[in-house]
Amino acid sequence: MMEKLEYLVNGAKYDAACTSSGADRKAEPGGIGSAVSGGCCHSFAADGRCISLLKVLMTNACIYDCAYCVNRRSNDIPRVTFTPEELAELTIQFYRRNYIEGLFLSSGVLRSPDYTMERMIRVVELLRVQYRFQGYIHAKTIPGASPELVWQLGVLADRLSVNIEFPSEQSLRQLAPDKTRQAILAPMGQMHQWMQGNRQALEIQAPAHRLPAARRAAPRFATAGQATQMIIGATPESDYQILRLAQGLYHKYELKRVFYSAYIPVLEHSLLPALDTKPPLLREHRLYQADFLLRQYHFAAEELLAPEAPNFNPYLDPKCNWALLHPEFFPIDVQRAGKETLLRVPGIGSRSATRIVAERRSVKLDFAALKRMGVVLKRAQYFILAADHPRGLHLPGETVARALIDPKIFAFGMEQLSLFSPGGLGLPGAGDVKNLREATEEAVLVMGRSAYA
């Protein structure tokens, strides 16, 4: 069992998933578990990532041959498979001890997509019906599986996802020859319809015996929505292309999350980065920041990046970069501006924006008050008007740029900078400088001159 677990965790661990989900379910009498909508981290791994779910593959055997995957058919590794009973029992025992918030189940393709899905459904069915498990379940559907089975999995699980794998069709074709863009997007569209409650679109009866009693009358499909994931850094797409794709997926399919996974070379392949290439972690980080701005801060992909400058600024987070390039938008009067406007100020986050809007009717906001409310003045001060600074600070662009430099860049290190191609911004790349200090100094000069003049 120990060895099995190791193989099947190793095969699944590069997948990102978290539970900040929107699933909110009370425990039912005689059952175990509940789901909380805010999400809950149960631990943090040595790599700093939140551990919330038992993230495993049902099997690491696979009939497909995706070039970037350790489980590919042509790779010579031992193959192991959980029985549905083993996996359900393991989930429950981990859950009772409060190790986990639920299960994140994915799988290699065993015999056929449908056969694999049947077994996955069996795991989830055991949990929901036999153990009456009310905790969170996220399952990954198998590309090419029949819609009936996707439906069955979806009424039992909280969230489903289909991985889009790569940001462009061409890359997918080259690296995952057994998968097609169509086989990925079709179920996404189908699931989107089901989630909106469009039962006509499905013409499928949920086999009632497979559902827990409480859900039989009105089965609902994946109430926590669907998500997807793509690998970045393995293929040549720009950040602009990736972000536009994510934005399109959010709009078209109302995805709850798009996850980005920095490619870690596991296999030698002529179309993939060499084995000693480092995963582009800083780039992945910038993508997550930008993704957050799309979902929570009302930004559009086209505001953050453009065809002429299609990649992120490694030195600044995307919001600061935007602010530096848009002096005409500032300064913002904190006493009057709407919440959406406040959210665009560097150093003001959603918590401090909410506090400002709630409290400013009873008080004139000065820098000291803003600071107590959680505003990071080091950044915000250049962009706002406050009671004690009615005309704002007018400082040289360099000073502003220096204050905005993302200190995380030093934690990521020089190596990450070298994985960037900040083309079009005129910024120093890794080849132009001796160390990070010098790189940021140079960047401050360039940004101060060109942007916030």
């Binding site: 009498p29 909380v36 791994a45 040595a46 055997a61 029985t83 001890r97 506090r355």
Partner: protein, 269 residues
């Protein structure tokens, strides 16, 4: 209301919320503002003997009502939450807060974080809520013959905030969470939970089955981290070291745990 006059006296009380309300009652009745309020359990040696305030439930109730009605329900909620927090000199801060509330009415509560005095209490409240939230994930139960038990060592008194979460999640189970810092335990049986004082709790020996799940979990934990991406600083910001002592997966490897294989596994490959 007559403004109490600052005096160089220390009130001592039994550490309960009711006792604290009685200190307020006395302060108002005597028209004096004590220099400190202290829980008898952690009394400091002093030159002058502190004034002992007896807990009288009737007085406590009057104060509690007055906070809710004369100031605002939110003021009462904030008071009772901050009272469970680990804010230094919380009693004195609350005393000043409530005197201001009675003087100015509910209006000043709207100033929220922009007001220094309120910000201090709101911060203490948030610190407690945050710790409770973290612990809903970090609590680790062990199974002792069908009963689940866990130990925590929180800074704030979070058990009342953990109770509804775990009671809903494990409603059909028997479980206990022992708060070693505050010497109290949350005890749940199907049908209800309660919090009791508990000086010390002796845990029985760990069964082979329990050891097996611990080992599997630890192995999962070690495996799921992506090698080459170690980030101790990030792990530490999300999960402060002080929580580690009670978390199964972060215990140093002791004697090799018994590994029981589940016998013949159906081979489907």
């Amino acid at each position: 209301m007559r403004e109490p006059v600052p005096r160089d006296v220390v009130y001592q009380y039994d550490g309960s919320l009711e006792g604290f309300y009685c200190c307020l009652f006395e302060s108002l009745r005597r028209g004096e503002l004590p220099a400190a309020l202290e829980d008898a359990a952690d009394a400091q040696p002093r030159l002058f003997a502190p004034v002992w305030i007896e807990t009288d439930p009737a007085h406590a109730l009057r104060v509690q009502r007055s906070i809710g009605e004369k100031i605002a329900p939110r003021a009462l909620h904030l008071t009772e939450t901050v009272f469970l927090s680990c804010l230094e000199e919380k009693e004195l801060h609350l005393l000043h807060f409530l005197l201001r509330g009675w003087r100015e009415g509910a209006g000043f509560l709207r100033r929220g974080w922009s007001d220094p005095q309120l910000a201090l209490l709101l911060k203490a409240e948030r610190h407690l809520a945050h710790e409770a939230h973290l612990l809903t994930g970090f609590v680790r139960f062990s199974d002792y013959d069908g009963h689940l038990a866990a130990t925590i060592t929180p800074k704030n008194f979070v058990l009342p905030f953990l109770a509804p979460h775990f009671a809903a999640r494990y409603r059909g189970e028997h479980f206990m969470i022992f708060d070693k810092t505050h010497r109290a335990a949350l005890i749940h049986q199907p049908g209800g939970s309660r919090i009791v004082a508990a000086e010390h709790i002796e845990f029985p020996a760990v069964s082979a089955e329990e050891a097996r799940y611990r080992a599997l979990w630890k192995h999962f934990y070690d495996t799921v981290a992506i090698e080459g991406r170690e980030n101790p600083r990030c792990r530490m910001t999300h999960m402060a070291k002080r929580y580690w002592e009670n978390m199964t997966e972060l215990q140093p490897e002791k004697a090799p745990l018994p590994m029981i294989e589940s016998g013949a596994e159906p081979a489907i490959l």
